[in-house]
Amino acid sequence: MILSQYRSHLVKFQSLIALVLLCIGIGLLSDKFFTVDNGWNVMRQISVNICISVGMTLVVLTGGIDLSVGSVLAIGGAIAAGLLKFGIEIPSGNLYIGFTLLGSILGGLVIGSLLGLFNGWTITKFKVPPFVATLAMLTIARGFTMLYTKGFPISNLGDSFAYIGTGWFIGIPVPVWISAVVIVVAIVITQKTALGRYIYAIGGNEHASKLSGINISKVKIIVYGIAGMLAAVGGIIVTSRLDSAQPNAGMSYELDAIAAVVIGGTSLSGGRGTIMGTVLGALIIGVLNNGLVLLNVSPFWQQVVKGGVILLAVIIDKANSKND
């Protein structure tokens, strides 16, 4: 009985325990790890992954997957940068529509949301497997980014825009504030709203959810829309940090997001997982990345280690599911 309780606690806090052990291990091997600067550095770096991973968690909770987040991130950032820098020209009407900082950010978020909604629509309307639909969007969004930027970075976006990715507010980096807001809103959605309950219900048993009157298509479209919007949030942070919208930004970011979700204990078959778990997963990935760099591990080995950690997380998840 006691053993069973002990095991249950261990499973519940496995991500946290892994994170603490990882921090202690890296801290012992590198004296630069436990410094304030490095702490903020890690937090700033993972803020983008947190935004994407939170959206990915919602998608995975419904039993889906979104492989397009990296490309949507790129186009979200590029649109925001492009609108701010170049606006929209309508030569036939001799009209120039300029965008303020707020307008350009909204523009990026709207595009991200629309692409996400389109993902949801194709998945629900045409019953395209999420893997395939979002894989298609991955290349479509990347192609549109290349077309929009003509393959060149959009740079020099001004100090106000740069503040989003590089500024500090009450002693904390702005990207950390943004990711904190994303986390809180996502927790409220998943824990306190009907939408959150529907998300878990659909992932748990889609057929039963349908029979109980949940509008499956609507919920899925909304969830993919949110994932797209959060990818665009990540894109705006990345663009702001670099002061440049890079056409190839966000490549392979979907893998880090999926890794954070899986390491955080969210079941890839849906219905089980938490936002806080994903945040811990993103922290583990971030700390691992940071630690491997501080320890001068070759980038090639870094990839091997990260892949190994993801594999281990999935194996543990499977074992837990069996025991449940």
């Binding site: 009407g93 001799n94 009209l95 120039y96 300029g98 965008f99 909204l106 020099n156």
Partner: protein, 206 residues
């Protein structure tokens, strides 16, 4: 009633956000103002005539420069190279004469008086060498890097349009050539065999 209030508040919110998000101007005014801001083509033409060509005239002779690059690269980099950033890629101005040993679609290959082999680009004229090698452009004079990039692109464009065509159609092995231009070298991995001069002046000697 409650619904109506909700809709009204939503419309007010949307209008408020929209009014703070976008603004309208005449496209012609915006273009006129942009044109006033920076004309890279004009700047490049002026730079070529008043700075680059005089700098090319004063550039070290190829034989001297190559000799010092071989014997004392640190001194060569310190004395003769320039660059806008703090990276390892540095740019040198160079001038000289030589005999054409071969010509292909990309380069003219020459041997200098001291029998040093050099190649001069005649097809792919791109990059920042002609902009950065004289060290006369100050990065702080520009508010954005796009303007700087455009200057390099415009200078290269002038070379492609005006310097190369008269030479490309006539040059042949055995010709004597006078040249002045710029090349880049990585100061961490110096490879003199890979030097490719981007010409600003190129003449076949009679």
């Amino acid at each position: 009633m409650k619904k109506a209030i909700k809709y009204i508040l939503a419309i007010i919110l949307v209008l408020f956000i929209a009014s703070n998000s976008i603004y309208f101007k005449k496209l012609s005014d915006v273009k006129a103002s942009a044109a006033k801001q920076f004309d890279a083509a004009k700047y490049a033409r002026n730079y070529l005539n008043t700075q680059l060509i005089p700098a090319a005239d004063k550039a070290p002779q190829a034989d001297d420069l190559l000799a010092i690059l071989k014997s004392s690269p640190d001194t060569a980099f310190k004395t003769y190279s320039h660059g806008l950033d703090i990276g390892n890629i540095r740019f040198f101005m160079v001038q000289g004469q030589g005999t054409v040993t071969a010509v292909d679609e990309n380069d003219i290959y020459i041997l200098t008086k001291d029998k040093q082999a050099l190649k001069i680009a005649i097809e792919y004229v791109f990059g920042n060498a002609l902009r950065d090698a004289p060290g006369l452009i100050n990065i702080n004079d520009f508010t954005n890097t796009m303007d700087l990039n455009n200057i390099a692109a415009e200078v290269d464009k002038i070379v492609r349009a005006e310097v190369l065509p008269p030479i490309k159609s006539k040059i042949k092995t055995g010709d004597k050539l006078t040249f002045a231009g710029a090349f880049e070298l990585n100061q961490e991995h110096i490879n003199l065999d890979k030097i490719e001069v981007i010409p600003a002046i190129l003449k076949i000697d009679k």
